[in-house]
Symmetry: C2
C-alpha cells in the first residue's frame, strides 16, 4: 500500500487507468477507464482500488487514512469536468457509488445512486433540472437506498410509508405522485430514519460519501457475495474496487432515456444491435418492470410487430452515436459487449461495458462469425466456447418462458428435461413404455437391475445418490435426463406415492424433471429442443484440427454407438459387457450361470449366452466400421444380477424351476459389506475362467463375422477390469489367447487383437510398470477414474453426497472429485501410472474411461499428462472434442 | 550341468561333500556328508545332486546320460567300503534310496529300502545275516515297496495276499510267520506283480536301482509334494537330491536296534537326551506302532515309571557312543539335533541328523540355555525364535492328549482355545455371563454392535469373514479366541440352532473352539495354559536391548491397557474411543446424539457422555503412568451405533421415548452402500465439530485429573482418522486447540499434547507432506494399514476371504495382505508417506496401528522403512518386540 496510488481517475483528458488494470480497478472501473481513454462519452469519475478493500479488512474494517486526501482531490477533478461541485447547494454534483470486482458478481454487492443530495442540494438539483418532481423523487430514492444499504434500515419501512401515503391520499401508482407529494414523502422518510436510528439522516455530503464507500467495501463480505464466490471459485483475497462517478440522468424528461445494448443478439448470436431502453427513466425502472422497455432498433420493432417504438426512430442522432460506440467497443474488446447507457437531454453517456453473457447457441455463432469477420482468430474462437455449455445444446430443455410449479430440487445429474408419468419400478416403466406412455422412473436409488426400466423411461429421478451415483452415470451414458439425490422426496413403495412436503403424487401423476438444473416440477412443462447450428459444426471441425487427444465414447449398445458416431467419436473406449446381460432374454441365462453349483453348470448357461453376446458385438463392430472398440470383460459383482426382493426371488425360482431357498442362499453367499471392494472385475474371471472364455469367444467370432460381412477390418481391444497384479493379468490374458487360438484354428483365419487393462485402483498404478512390461504385458491402459477416485480418497460415490456438500461448503474441495479429477491426489497417481507404463512401453496407448473423460478440466489434465485419448458418454463427445482442442491450444501457447 | 559333478560320495575317507552343499545335496545328503567328514559312523553312500533333478524334468523325465558312469563308480566305492558288492549273489550290497531337498518335506516324497534283493542275492543275505526269516521278510518288504513306489502297483494288492495267506494258514500276526511262510509270500507277490504288469518283477539289480532313482526324482512332482511346497513357499526349482546308501539292519537280532534321538527334550527344551528305540527292528517298525518303542535313557524310564527298559541299560556301550555322537553333533551344528540311528549287531550307525523341531517353550529354553552355555550368542538366540510362535504361549490351548470330536474347521482367527455354551446374540452372551456361564458367541459375522457380547463371551465363532474380519480383529485385540469364516456352519437365528452337516446344536449346547487351528469341536475339551517360563522373560529382555522400533499396544479399555503393560508395551498406539461408546450406559446417549435433529440436541447428548468418556481416559492415563497414549477420535460410521433389527429399534424407541419411525428414518438416511468408504473418520468431526469438542475436552480434563492424582505427567497424542487433506486436518485441529485453550483457562493450568493423523488412505499418503508441514501440521503419523490395504488393493477385508483363498491357490498372493504388508503395493505407498512426511518434518514420529503391527514380517518392513514404533493388540506385543529385535539384528548384519 505504502506510496501506491489508491484512486484512479477517468473522464475526458484525466484518465489514468485502462482495461489492463482489472485486478486493481475491478472490471467496471477498468472498462470505464478504457472507454474514457478511447474518447467515448463517459461521465467523469474515479475508482478506489481493490488494494484499499484488502487494507480495509486488514485494518478491522477501517479505511486507510491516506485515502481521504486522494478522494477529495479526485472529487474536485470530477466536479471540474462535470461543471458542478460536490455538496454545492447551488450546482450540486451527484455521484453513484458502485462496487466492481475482478470477476463479475452481478447483484451480489451494494450500489448507491444520487449521492450528494440533502435538504439544500436538492434545491440546486431542482434548478439544474428545471423539474421539482424529478428532484424530490431522486432525493427520496436516495434516502431509501442509502438508509437500507449504509444505515441498515429495513427497506420495508419506506415501502410501508409510501403505501400508507398513497392510501391516505387516494393515489394508486408512483406516477400519480406530484412534486408536492414527494416532498412530503422525503420528510416522512427522514423522520422515520431519525426515529429508527435516534439520529437524523446525514445531511453532510462528505459523510454520505464515506458511509457509502465503507458500505460498498463492507458488502464484499456479505453472505450472498461470499456464497457466490464459493460457488464460482472466486478468491476472497481479490477484493472489490469502488467506483464513484458523476450521475447522469435518463429521467430528465422526454429527451432523456436509459437502456442496455448488446452488440449482437445474446440469444441467437445474430450480428445485429440488440437491446432495450426507456424514455425518461433511470436504470432501475428498466428492471422494475412497471413500464415496458422498448426495442432499440427498427428491425426489432418490426420483428415483434406490436405497438413499440424504437430508439432508432425517437432519438435518431443518439442512436447513430450508440451504434458507432457499440461497433467501436466490440472491435476494441474483440468480443460481444453488454453496454449500459444513459441519454441525458439528448447527450449519450456510456456507463458500463463488459463482455456480454450469451446462450451457448449465441456463443457458437458469435465466435464463428467473429473469426470469419477477422475480428478474432479461429484459435480464439475455439477458446471462447465453454465446453461444458455444449451439454445444453444436445438435450431438450425447459422453455424459459414456461410456467413452472417447483416441487423440489435435486442434483443436476444428467442434462436435458423430460415430462412423464411417475412409476416406481423398472418393470412398470417397461410396461408403460409398451403402452406408448412416457414415464419418469422414480427410485430411492437405482441399481443395475433397473437398467431396463431406465431405458424405458424418459427420465430418472432418485432420492439418494450423487452426481456419479449409478443413476447419474447410467443416465448420462444413455443421454437420459436425471435428477439425483433429491433428498426431500419421500417414496412409499407400498402405497406407490411420492411425497414432497405437503404434496403427494401417486403413480401415473405427471412430473417434469430438468436434469440441467436439478428441478423437479409438477405436471407437464413446455420444452424446446435446440437445433445443432451450422456454427456448431464449423467450430467442432476447427477444434478437431487442433486437438491431439483422441476422443472415444463409452457405449454399450448399438443405440449408444450410433449416437457416439453421430457426435464424432473416434471409437469406443469402453463397452461394458455386463449391460448386455441385463436384457430380459439374457438375465435368465446369467442367473442360471451364477446359481450353477459347478463349472459344468456354468458352462451350460454360458453356452446359451454366447450367441447373444456374439450378436451384440457384431452389431457394434458394424456400426463402428473399422474404428477401435474397447470391450471390457464382465466387471460388476455377481449379486447385482440376482433378484433381491422376496417376490422377485420367487418369480425367478419358478422361472428357472429351482428351489427359492437356493436363490436366497446364493444371494446371501454373494452379498458383500463393501461391494465396491469385493468380488468383481478380473477376480470373477480368475475364479470362473469359463466366463472369460465365453466372452473372448463371442468377441473373436463376432469380429470375424463382422469383417466378413463388411469387408472392413475390426479393431478389437479387450480390457481387463480391476487388475492390480501382473499375475492376474497373465492368468486372464492366457485364457483369452487360448480362446483366440482355438477360434483361429476352427475358422482357419487369423486376426489381430490387443489385451489391455483398466487402471482403477491405487495398486494398479503402483504396479503399472510390471503390468505393461514385455510383449505379453498390457497393450493399453484405460484409467477408470471413478473407482480410482473412490479408493484413493476412500469415498464411495454412492454415499458421498452429504460429505461432498459439506466439504464444498468448508472449501476443503473446490470441485466435486467425481466430476473433475482431483489433481493433487488421484491426478498424481495417474501421472505415476502413465510414467511407469510408458517407461516399459514408450508407445503405450493410454486412455481414460471414467466419468471424468467428459469433463473439460479433466480432459485438459489428460492432455497435459500425455494421454492418447479420452472416452466419455456419447452425449459428452462434442464437449471432450472441444476441451481437447482448447487444452492443445493452451499448452502450445505455453 | 556340463562338466559339473553329478554324484557326491560320503563314508569313511571318501566324503567329498559337506553341510555347506545343502542346495546341491539336499538337507539329508549334506548332513550325511558332514557327519562322515566328522568321522562319525555313517554307512557309506552317495548323493545324486538336485541339478540332476532339474535336468531330469528339463529333459522330459529322462536322466542325463553321463549319470550312469558316475553312479556305477560310486556304487563300487560303497561296496568296497562296506565289504560287499551290489548285485553279488554271494555277498550282496543292499541300499536305500531316499529323497532329500534343501527344505525338509517330511513324508512328502518316496523312499525305497533293501534295494538289491532278487531271487539270487536273497540267498547271499541269508548267509550274511545267518537268518533266513529276516532275509525273506526283507525281500517281500522290498517287493512290496518297490512295486508300489516304482512300478505303480496298488499296495492294497499285497496286503490282500498277505491277509489271505494268513487266513488260509491260520496265522494271526506277522510275527507268527516263519521263514518258509515268507518264502511263499515272496512267490505270491512276484506272481501278482507279473500278472498285474504283464512282466516279471525286475531281477536285475541295476534296473532296480535306476527305476528307484527315477521314481524318487519323479516324486518331486507328486500332488502332495507340490501342495506342501505351495503351502510352505518352497520353490519348484529347488529340486530334490537322491541319496543311495548301504543298508544297515536294526532287525538282525537282539543285538540290533533302531531309534531316534533328540539332543534336548523337544517339548520342554530340557538339556537331556530324549528319544526312543526298538530292539530288533527297522525304522518303519518304530512308526508302525505294533510294538511300543522304549525310552533311550534310564532317567526317562524312571520318569514314566512303567515296565520299560532303556537303551542305556540294554546296550550300554552303544548308548555311551550315541551320547557322545549326539553331543558332538549338537556342538557341531550349534543347535538341538533330531537324529536317526541304527545299531547292527552292536555297531552304531548314524542315518540322519537335522535340526530338531520343537515346541515354542522348548525353543525358548534351548535358545537361552545354549546362549548361556556359550554354544551360540545372545543375538543368535534371539534370531532362533519364530516370533509368530509366541502367540501360542500367551493363550490357553487344547491339551494335545485330549479326545476331540471335530465338527468343522474355520480360519484360525485369534489364538487360544475356549469351551462354552453357544449363544446367538450379544445380549444372550451378556446375560449368560452375568449368570456365571461361559459362552461362545456364534454369529454369521460380527459388527460393532456385538462388542459387548464379544467381551462377555469366552470365544467367538463366525460363519463368514476372513482373518481380518471384524470378529477376527476385535477378538485378537481382546485376546479372545476366535474361529472365523467357518463356512460349513448353518445358523438359524429363529430356531437358535447351529447345523454342521448332520449335527444340529441348540443354544446352550457346549462347543470348544481352537483359535490356533480353526477347529470347532463338540463338547468341552481338556485345556492347558502354558506358563511363561523364565526363558521367555530372559529372551525378551535380550531382544529389548537390540530393537530400535518402539512397541506400543492398541488398547481401548483399562483391561487392554493392563494386559499391554504386562506384555511390555511402551505406550498405547491406538485407543479407539468408539469402543467406549458401545457400553450399555453410553449407547443410549450416543443414540440420542445421532438421532438429534440439530446441534443443540447433539450437544445435550454429548454433555452426558463427557463425564463417562473423561473417566475412561483418567483410568487409561493412570494405568499407562507416563507412557504415551494415542487417542483416536470417533471413527466408525454413525449407523453402527443404531439398532438395525425391528425389535431392537422398537426397544430403543421406547427407551428414548421417541417414535420408532424416527429411528428407522435415521437408519435409512445413514445407511451406506460401501460403509468402508463412507461417512466416518474425521468426516464426522467436520460435519459435527461438537463431537470433536466433547472428546477433546474429555481428554484434556482427564489428563489434568490424572496428573493431579498421580503426580506423573500424562503424554497425550490426539489422532485424527481418515484425513486426506490438510484442510480437514486444520479444521478439526482448530477445534481441538480451541478446546485446549478453554480447558486451560478454566482450570488455570497448562498442558502439552500433540495432534497427529492416521495415514490410511492412498490420498493421505500422497498429501503426507502437506499434512505434516509446519508447526500446526501433523505431529505424528500412524499408518492404518487395514484401511490402506483395503483401498490400495480395492479389497474389502470383510468380503475378501473367497478371493484371497483363490488368489493364494493361484499363487497371485504369497501371503494374506491383511496379515502381512503387501510390500509391492501398500508397502510402496507407506514408504512414500514416510518420505514425504519426514521431508517436511525430519523428526516426525511414525507408527503403524493396523493389524500388521503384530506381524513379524510387517514389523521387519516397518523397521526397514524407518518407523518410530509399531502398535499391535496387547497379546501380540511380545511378538512385535522380538520381531523388532530380529529386524534390527538382521539389518545391522547388512
Amino acid at each position: 500500500m505504502a506510496g501506491s496510488k489508491l484512486v484512479y481517475l477517468f473522464g475526458p483528458e484525466m484518465t489514468d487507468g485502462d482495461a489492463g488494470l482489472v485486478e486493481l480497478l475491478g472490471g467496471k472501473g477498468a472498462n470505464l477507464a478504457e472507454m474514457a481513454q478511447l474518447g467515448l462519452p463517459v461521465p467523469p469519475g474515479f475508482t478506489i482500488t481493490t488494494e484499499v478493500c484488502n487494507a480495509y479488512y486488514k485494518g478491522g474494517r477501517k479505511l486507510p487514512e491516506e485515502l481521504r486526501g486522494e478522494v477529495e482531490a479526485a472529487l474536485d477533478r470530477i466536479g471540474v469536468a462535470a461543471g458542478r461541485k460536490f455538496g454545492d447547494p447551488g450546482n450540486p454534483l451527484l455521484v453513484s457509488v458502485r462496487s466492481g470486482s475482478r470477476a463479475s458478481m452481478p447483484g451480489m454487492m451494494d450500489t448507491i445512486l444520487d449521492l450528494g443530495l440533502n435538504d439544500e442540494t436538492v434545491a440546486g438539483l431542482v434548478r439544474h433540472a428545471g423539474d421539482e418532481r424529478f428532484a424530490y423523487d431522486s432525493y427520496r430514492r436516495f434516502i431509501q437506498m442509502y438508509s437500507d444499504v449504509v444505515l441498515g434500515v429495513d427497506h420495508g419501512l419506506f415501502e410501508d410509508i409510501l403505501e400508507n401515503f398513497k392510501n391516505l391520499n387516494g393515489l394508486q401508482l408512483d406516477t400519480d405522485l406530484e412534486a408536492e407529494h414527494w416532498k412530503k414523502i422525503v420528510v416522512l422518510f427522514k423522520d422515520a430514519v431519525a426515529k429508527e436510528l435516534d439520529q437524523p439522516f446525514p445531511q453532510d455530503t462528505a459523510d454520505q460519501l464515506w458511509g457509502a464507500i465503507g458500505a460498498v467495501f463492507g458488502s464484499w463480505e456479505n453472505t450472498r457475495a461470499k456464497t457466490y464466490r464459493r460457488l464460482h471459485s472466486i478468491s476472497d483475497d481479490w477484493g472489490t474496487a469502488v467506483s464513484v462517478q458523476a450521475m447522469v440522468f435518463g429521467n430528465m424528461g422526454e429527451t432523456s432515456a436509459t437502456g442496455v445494448a448488446f452488440t449482437r443478439d445474446p440469444s441467437t448470436g445474430e450480428h445485429q444491435l440488440y437491446g432495450e431502453y426507456l424514455i425518461n427513466a433511470q436504470g432501475e425502472d428498466v428492471v422494475a418492470g412497471i413500464r415496458t422497455p422498448q426495442p432499440l432498433t427498427a428491425v426489432a420493432v418490426q420483428a415483434v410487430g406490436r405497438d413499440y417504438v424504437s430508439l432508432e426512430e425517437v432519438m435518431p442522432e443518439a442512436f447513430v452515436q450508440l451504434v458507432a460506440v457499440c461497433e467501436r467497443l466490440e472491435r476494441h474488446y474483440r468480443d460481444m459487449q453488454d453496454i449500459e447507457f444513459t441519454i441525458e437531454r439528448g447527450q449519450l453517456w456510456m456507463l458500463q461495458t463488459r463482455s456480454g453473457k450469451r446462450t451457448v447457441e449465441a456463443a457458437l455463432r458469435i465466435a464463428v462469425e467473429m473469426a470469419n469477420e477477422g475480428i478474432i482468430t479461429k484459435e480464439e474462437a475455439i477458446l471462447r466456447i465453454d465446453p461444458a455449455g455444449l451439454d445444453h445444446l444436445l438435450h431438450p430443455t425447459i422453455d424459459p418462458a414456461a410456467e413452472k410449479e417447483l416441487l423440489t430440487t435435486g442434483l443436476p445429474a444428467s442434462p436435458g428435461a423430460a415430462s412423464g408419468e411417475i412409476v416406481f419400478t423398472a418393470d412398470a416403466a417397461v410396461d408403460a413404455k409398451a403402452q406408448g406412455r412416457d414415464v419418469i422412473l422414480v427410485r430411492l436409488e437405482t441399481s443395475p437391475e433397473d437398467i431396463h426400466g431406465m431405458h424405458a423411461a424418459v427420465g430418472i429421478l432418485t432420492a439418494r445418490g450423487g452426481m456419479t451415483s449409478h443413476a447419474a452415470v447410467v443416465a448420462r451414458g444413455m443421454g437420459r435426463p436425471c435428477v439425483a439425490g433429491a433428498g426431500a422426496l419421500r417414496i412409499d413403495l407400498v402405497a406407490k406415492t411420492l411425497t414432497v412436503g405437503r404434496v403427494t403424487l401417486k403413480s401415473g401423476d405427471v412430473v417434469t424433471i430438468d436434469g440441467g438444473t436439478g428441478e423437479v416440477l409438477k405436471g407437464r412443462v413446455q420444452m424446446r429442443r435446440p437445433e445443432l447450428s451450422g456454427a456448431f459444426g464449423t467450430l467442432m471441425s476447427w477444434a478437431d484440427t487442433h486437438r491431439r487427444l483422441g476422443v472415444r465414447a463409452n457405449a454399450d449398445t448399438p443405440r449408444d454407438a450410433e449416437q457416439a458416431c453421430h457426435f464424432g467419436a473416434e471409437g469406443i473406449g469402453l463397452c461394458r459387457t455386463e449391460h448386455m446381460f441385463f436384457e430380459a432374454d439374457r438375465i435368465i441365462a446369467v442367473r442360471k450361470m451364477i446359481l450353477a453349483s459347478d463349472e459344468g453348470g456354468r458352462r451350460e448357461a454360458l453356452s446359451s449366452l454366447l450367441p447373444m453376446q456374439r450378436a451384440d458385438f457384431v452389431r457394434l463392430f458394424e456400426i463402428m466400421a473399422g474404428m477401435p472398440v474397447t470391450i471390457r470383460l464382465l466387471d460388476p459383482p455377481l449379486h447385482e444380477f440376482l433378484p433381491h426382493q422376496p417376490h422377485e426371488q420367487e418369480a425367478v425360482a419358478a422361472d428357472l424351476g429351482i428351489d427359492v431357498a437356493r436363490i436366497r442362499r446364493r444371494v446371501i453367499e454373494l452379498s458383500e459389506v463393501n461391494p465396491m471392494l469385493g468380488f468383481r472385475g478380473c477376480r470373477i474371471g480368475i475364479l470362473y475362467p469359463e466366463i472369460v472364455e465365453m466372452q473372448a469367444r463371442a468377441i473373436f467370432e463376432a469380429a470375424l463375422a463382422a469383417e466378413q460381412a463388411s469387408g472392413q477390418p475390426v479393431v478389437v481391444e479387450i480390457m481387463l477390469p480391476l487388475v492390480i497384479d501382473r499375475a492376474e493379468f497373465d492368468l486372464v490374458a492366457e485364457v483369452i489367447r487360448e480362446t483366440a487360438a482355438a477360434v483361429s484354428s476352427e475358422q482357419d483365419k487369423t486376426f489381430d487383437y490387443q489385451i489391455g487393462t483398466m487402471v482403477e485402483l491405487p495398486r494398479s498404478v503402483l504396479r503399472a510398470g510390471d503390468i505393461a512390461s514385455g510383449e505379453t504385458g498390457a497393450a493399453f491402459f484405460s484409467f477408470g477414474t471413478n473407482d480410482l477416485t473412490q479408493t484413493t480418497m476412500g469415498l464411495s460415490r454412492d454415499d458421498a453426497a452429504p460429505i461432498l456438500n459439506s466439504y464444498t461448503a468448508h472449501g476443503i474441495f473446490l470441485a466435486d472429485p467425481f466430476v473433475t479429477i482431483d489433481e493433487d491426489g488421484v491426478g498424481e497417481l495417474m501421472k505415476i501410472g502413465v510414467e511407469r507404463g510408458r517407461k516399459v512401453k514408450p508407445d503405450l496407448k493410454i486412455g481414460i474411461c471414467g466419468e471424468h473423460g467428459g469433463d473439460p478440466a479433466s480432459v485438459a489434465f489428460c492432455h497435459d499428462a500425455g494421454f492418447t485419448y479420452v472416452s466419455c458418454s456419447p452425449f459428452r463427445v462434442p464437449i471432450a472434442r472441444l476441451a481437447a482442442a482448447q487444452a492443445a491450444l493452451r499448452s502450445s501457447r505455453g
